[in-house]
C-alpha cells in the first residue's frame, strides 16, 4: 500500500497531443481558459489507475495506456463511409443527429424533420459564437471531479445542444449517433440536453464504427436536465469495433416528479466504461436505470452508477446484468448516496453476473451511503455460472447444449431489457443479444 505510482510517459504524450490539438479546438477566450484549466487538472492527475478508488477495476494506465491523437475533421470519403454505417443501423424511424469522428455531420442528420418545440445547436457553433458566459458553462460541471470528464472538457470538439420546450411530447425518438471512421484516433464529444417541464422525450444513443475503423477511442459526455414532471426514456447501444475503447459519462439532473428510464447495452468495444451520475433535484422523481453487458474474448466492460438522492420522496431502481464469456471482465460499481434531507427514499439496486467460462471475471461493488434514517434501501449482487439443473431440463427435452444455454442467457438478460418502454428499441436490444449469442464459439 501507499506506493507512489510513477507517472508513465503516456501522460506526457497526451500533453503533447493537447498542444498539437489546441489550434483545432473550437472556441477562444474564456473557452480556452476553461480548457487550459481542465487540461491542467488532467495532466496533474494523469489517466486514472487502480489506486483511484472509482477506477479500481478499470486501470486506464494499463488498459488505455495513452490518449490517442485527436481525430481530424472527416473528409468526403469519411462521410461516405459514415453514411454506410448510418444506413446499416438497426434502429430506424428516429430523428438522427450524427457525429462523425467528433464532428456534427448535418447532411447525415435528420435536421429538417426535427419536431416543433425542439431547438438544435451544435456545441462547436455555440463555443465559437455565443456570449462568454454561455460558452464556458457548456464545458463546466460540478456533478463530478472525475478526471476523464475534465479531459473531455479540455478536448471536446463538438456535440449536440438540444432544448425541448415545456409540455412537448415528441413522437419520434431523438437519436444521437456516434460514428468512428478513423483508426488510432480519439474523438471527444459533449452533448447537452435540456428537457422542459412536462415534456416527453425518448433519447437514443448509438456508438458504431464505419467499416475498417480500428483501435479508435471514443470519449463522450452527455449532460442533461429534466424539468419538473418530464418523462424521459434513454437507451444507449454501444456497438463499437471490437478493438476500440469507449469512455462515456452521463450527468443527469432530475426535476420534481420526473420519470427517468434509462437502459444501456454494451456489446462492442475492447474497453468500455460508462459512468452515470444521476442527481435527484426535485421530490417524487422516479428513476429506473438498467443495463446489460455482453462481453467475450478479452473485452472489458465497466458500468459505474452514482445516484445522489438530495431530496425526499424519490424512488430509484437499478437492474444490471452481465454475461461474461472467454477471458472477458465485467465490472459493476453502483453507489446510492442518500443525503441527510432525503427522507422517504426508496432505492434498490440489483446486479447479477453470469460467468460462462473459467477465465471470465466479474467484479461487483454495490455501495450504500446513507445519511437519512427514514429510508428503504437495499442492494443485491450475485455471481455464478448457468444453473446445471436448468440446462439439464432443457437438454432432456432435446435442445442442443448451445441452444439451451442461449435460451437461459436470453432469459437472464431479458429481465433488464423489459424496462425499455419503446417496443422497437426493446426488440433491437433483444436482437442484439440474440446476435451476440449466435456468434458465441
Amino acid at each position: 500500500m501507499n506506493v507512489a505510482l510513477v507517472k508513465p510517459t503516456s501522460d506526457r504524450a497526451s500533453g503533447e497531443s493537447f498542444a498539437a490539438a489546441r489550434s483545432r479546438l473550437p472556441g477562444s477566450g474564456v473557452v480556452s481558459e476553461v480548457r487550459e484549466a481542465a487540461f491542467a487538472e488532467f495532466s496533474k492527475r494523469g489517466l486514472p489507475h487502480r489506486r483511484v478508488e472509482e477506477w479500481k477495476y478499470t486501470d486506464l494506465r494499463v488498459m488505455l495506456r495513452e490518449v490517442a491523437p485527436l481525430a481530424v475533421n472527416p473528409d468526403e470519403a469519411a462521410l461516405n463511409r459514415a453514411a454506410a454505417a448510418v444506413a446499416s443501423l438497426d434502429v430506424t424511424d428516429t430523428c438522427k443527429l450524427v457525429l462523425v469522428d467528433g464532428s456534427f455531420a448535418p447532411h447525415l442528420s435528420d435536421v429538417a424533420s426535427l419536431e416543433a418545440g425542439v431547438r438544435l445547436h451544435t456545441l462547436r457553433e455555440i463555443l465559437e459564437t455565443a456570449d462568454n458566459s454561455t460558452r464556458a458553462d457548456l464545458l463546466r460541471t460540478n456533478a463530478t471531479s472525475d478526471v476523464m470528464v475534465a479531459l473531455n472538457a479540455a478536448m471536446a470538439t463538438d456535440g449536440v445542444v438540444l432544448g425541448v420546450d415545456n409540455g412537448v411530447a415528441l413522437k419520434r425518438p431523438i437519436h444521437i449517433v456516434h460514428i468512428a471512421t478513423q483508426s488510432n484516433a480519439a474523438s471527444f464529444t459533449r452533448s447537452l440536453i435540456k428537457i422542459g417541464e412536462g415534456a416527453q422525450v425518448t433519447l437514443v444513443e448509438s456508438f458504431v464504427a464505419a467499416p475498417d475503423a480500428k483501435s479508435y477511442q471514443v470519449h463522450d459526455a452527455l449532460v442533461s436536465w429534466a424539468g419538473d414532471g418530464a418523462n424521459v426514456h434513454h437507451v444507449r447501444l454501444v456497438e463499437d469495433a471490437r478493438d476500440a475503447s469507449n469512455i462515456s459519462t452521463a450527468i443527469v439532473t432530475l426535476g420534481a416528479k420526473t420519470q427517468f428510464n434509462s437502459f444501456s447495452l454494451t456489446s462492442g468495444s475492447a474497453l468500455s466504461r460508462y459512468q452515470a451520475f444521476v442527481r435527484f433535484g426535485g421530490e417524487e422523481a422516479v428513476a429506473n436505470i438498467n443495463g446489460v453487458n455482453l462481453l467475450k474474448d478479452r473485452q472489458h466492460g465497466d458500468t459505474t452508477l452514482v445516484l445522489d438522492h438530495m431530496v425526499p420522496h424519490c424512488d430509484s431502481r437499478e437492474v444490471f446484468r452481465a454475461v461474461v464469456d472467454d477471458r472477458a471482465h465485467s465490472v459493476f460499481q453502483g453507489r446510492i448516496n442518500v443525503h441527510p434531507d432525503a427522507q422517504k427514499t426508496d432505492a434498490k439496486m440489483m446486479t447479477r453476473a453470469l460467468l460462462l467460462s473459467d477465465e471470465a471475471e466479474a467484479d461487483n461493488k454495490p455501495e450504500l451511503e446513507i445519511f437519512a434514517d427514514d429510508v428503504q434501501c437495499g442492494h443485491g449482487a450475485t455471481t455464478g455460472a448457468l444453473d446445471d439443473s436448468l440446462l439439464f431440463y432443457l437438454r432432456a427435452r432435446g435442445l442442443p447444449e448451445k441452444e439451451a444455454q442461449a435460451l437461459l442467457i436470453q432469459a437472464f438478460v431479458g429481465e433488464a431489457m423489459e424496462s425499455i418502454a419503446d417496443e422497437q428499441l426493446r426488440e433491437t436490444a433483444v436482437a442484439t443479444a440474440a446476435r451476440w449469442l449466435a456468434t458465441r464459439g
Binding site: 500500500m1 460467468l355 477465465e359 461487483n364 454495490p366 455501495e367 451511503e369 446513507i370 437519512a372 427514514d374
Partner: protein
C-alpha cells in the same frame, strides 16, 4: 415532532455515566519513556527478556514502519495521531515472577472483579461443588502492556494445550512462535500491523496439538489503564490437525478525555480438519457525549485456513471505541475450508465504525458466510466494508453475505461498501444488503401491547441481531445482549 425532539434530548444525555467500565485503577506502573524510537523497541524487548531473533524481528518492522503512511481510505476522521506522544509500554510494578494469583496486585484483581471477570480459580481449587458439565473459562488477563494472570494453567497443561502470555511463549516455545508469528499478518502488512510488530507488548498464545479438543473456553481480557498509553497486543492461535478451540476476547478502558491508541494484531492458523472459533466483545471507552476521548481501535485480525477441511469463525460484538477500524478476515487456502464472520456493530454518540471482513477463496470448494448487522444511532457513522474474492483455481467457491443496517435517529449514517470479485465461473456468490429504520408499525404494535417505547426498541433490536448473538458462546451472549441495550440506551424515544 415531540417524539423526535425527545430522541435528540435522550441522545444528548448519553454521557459518561453510560459507560460502566470507566473507572481507573490507581497503581504504580513501570513505563517506557514516551515516544517511539529504536530505543523504545529495544526497551520493550529487554523488558520481556526476549531472545535476539525477536528483537531483530521487531526492529525490522520498526524500520519498515518509518517508511509507511497511515491509511486514509476508511470512512473515519480523526485528528492526526502524534505517535511520539504515546507511551508504548506500561506495566504494573510487581515482583519479578508470580508464583500464584495471590501475588497479583490486589488492586488489579479488584479491577477485574469490577469488570465481572472470574479471574480467581480458587473457588474451583477449594473444591466448591459445581454442577456437572458446567462450562468453565480459562482467562488470560492483560493489563496495559502485560499479562497479569492466566488461570487454569494446570488443567490445560494436562490436556496438552499451551495457553500463556505471548511474551512467555517467546521464551518457552520459541520454535512454535518463530514458525508461526507473522505468517498470517506479515510485518509489512499495513501501517498499524507493522507498528504492532515493532512494539507489541503482550497478548495470548494458544497452541493446540493435533487432535486436541480444548476442554474449556479460553479467554483474554484486555484493559488499558494508564494515561496516554497505547495497547499493542498480539494474539497467536494455532490449531494443529483436528484440534478445536473456542476463544473469547473482551476489552475495556477507563474514561479519559484524550484518545487512547489500540493497535492489535490477531493471527489464527488452522491446519487440516481444525476449527477455531474466535469471539470478541469489544467495549473500549467510546468517548463522551461531545465526542471527546475514547479509544482508537485499529486492529488487524486474520485467520488462515491452511489445511483441508479447516474452519475459522469470527464473531464480534462491537459497541465501544471512538473509532473502529477492523476487518477480521479469512484466507481460505485449504480445500473445503470454511470461513465465517458474524458481526454486530453498534455506534452511538460520535462513534465511527468502519468494519467488515475479507473472505479470500483460494482453495477448491471453499465456503464462506458473512452476517453483518450494523446499528447506527446518535451522530455516529457505521460502515460495513467487505471483500469476497475467488481466485482462478478456487473452483466451487461459495459465499453468502447479508449486511443489514438499522438507523436510529436522523443524524447518523450507515454505509455499505462490499467488493465482490469472481475470477472463475464455478464461484457462486450472493450478496444482499438493506438499510432501514425500525418500522413504525412494529413499534406501534409493541407499544399497543403495553411495552414501553424503549422496551419495544430493545425487542426489535434484539430480534435484528439474533442471528449473530446465537453464534456467541453462552456466557458471552448474555453479556453481549446487556451491552447492546446499554449502548443504545437513550437513543430512542
Amino acid at each position: 415532532m415531540p417524539a423526535e425532539l425527545e430522541t435528540v434530548e435522550r441522545v444528548r444525555r448519553i454521557d459518561v455515566d453510560q459507560y460502566r467500565y470507566g473507572f481507573e485503577t490507581i497503581i504504580e506502573s513501570d513505563k517506557a519513556p514516551k515516544g517511539l524510537s529504536e530505543d523504545t523497541v529495544r526497551f520493550i524487548s529487554a523488558k520481556k527478556n526476549e531472545p535476539a531473533w525477536m528483537l531483530e524481528w521487531r526492529l525490522e518492522a520498526f524500520r519498515r514502519w518509518q517508511t509507511m503512511q497511515e491509511p486514509e481510505w476508511a470512512r473515519v476522521s480523526y485528528p492526526k495521531i502524534d505517535y511520539q506522544d504515546v507511551y508504548y509500554y506500561s506495566a504494573p510494578k510487581k515482583k519479578p515472577e508470580l508464583a500464584s494469583l495471590d501475588e497479583v496486585d490486589p488492586e488489579i484483581l479488584k479491577t477485574y472483579e469490577k469488570l465481572g471477570i472470574p479471574l480467581r480459580e480458587q473457588e474451583v481449587l477449594a473444591g466448591v461443588v459445581r454442577p456437572e458439565g458446567e462450562r468453565r473459562v480459562a482467562v488470560d488477563a492483560v493489563f496495559d502492556s502485560v499479562s497479569v494472570a492466566t488461570t487454569f494453567q494446570k488443567e490445560l497443561k494436562e490436556a496438552g494445550v499451551i495457553f500463556m502470555p505471548i511474551s512467555q511463549a517467546i521464551r518457552e516455545h520459541p520454535e512454535l512462535v518463530q514458525k508461526y508469528l507473522g505468517t498470517v499478518v506479515p510485518t509489512s502488512d499495513n501501517f498499524f500491523a507493522t507498528l504492532n510488530s515493532a512494539v507489541f507488548s503482550d497478548g495470548s498464545f494458544v497452541y493446540l496439538p493435533p487432535g486436541v479438543r480444548c476442554p474449556m473456553e479460553l479467554s483474554t481480557y484486555f484493559r488499558i489503564n494508564e494515561r496516554n498509553t497505547g495497547q499493542f497486543e498480539r494474539t497467536l492461535i494455532i490449531a494443529d490437525k483436528g484440534a478445536y478451540v473456542s476463544y473469547l476476547e473482551g476489552c475495556t478502558a477507563p474514561q479519559r478525555d484524550e484518545n487512547q491508541l489500540h493497535a492489535a494484531v490477531v493471527e489464527l492458523v488452522a491446519h487440516d480438519d481444525a476449527e477455531i472459533k474466535y469471539s470478541t466483545v469489544q467495549n473500549w471507552y467510546p468517548g463522551n457525549s461531545e465526542g471527546k476521548g475514547g479509544v482508537y481501535n485499529f486492529v488487524t485480525k486474520r485467520g488462515d485456513c491452511r489445511g483441508k477441511n479447516s474452519k475459522i469463525s469470527w464473531t464480534q460484538v462491537e459497541t465501544g471505541s471512538a473509532i473502529t477500524w477492523k476487518y477480521p478476515s479469512c484466507i481460505l487456502r485449504g480445500d473445503n475450508s470454511r470461513g465465517e464472520f458474524y458481526s454486530i456493530a453498534i455506534s452511538n454518540g460520535f462513534q465511527q465504525v468502519d468494519s467488515g471482513t475479507k473472505m479470500i477463496h483460494l482453495g477448491k470448494n471453499t465456503t464462506s458466510r458473512i452476517i453483518s448487522k450494523g446499528i447506527a444511532a446518535g451522530k455516529s457513522q457505521n460502515t460495513y466494508r467487505g471483500l469476497v474474492s475467488a481466485h482462478r483455481k478456487a473452483t466451487g467457491a461459495r459465499n453468502f453475505t447479508a449486511c443489514d443496517s438499522l438507523l436510529i435517529g436522523d443524524k447518523c449514517g450507515a454505509h455499505t461498501v462490499p467488493y465482490v470479485e469472481a475470477k472463475n465461473s464455478s464461484a457462486l456468490f450472493e450478496h444482499e444488503a438493506t438499510t432501514s429504520k425500525i418500522s413504525e408499525d412494529v413499534l406501534f404494535y409493541c407499544v399497543q401491547r403495553g411495552l414501553s417505547q424503549e422496551e419495544a426498541v430493545g425487542l426489535v433490536v434484539n430480534g435484528f441481531v439474533k442471528d449473530v448473538l446465537q453464534q456467541l458462546p453462552m456466557e458471552f451472549a448474555v453479556e453481549a445482549q446487556k451491552l447492546i441495550s446499554i449502548s443504545l440506551e437513550g437513543s430512542v424515544g
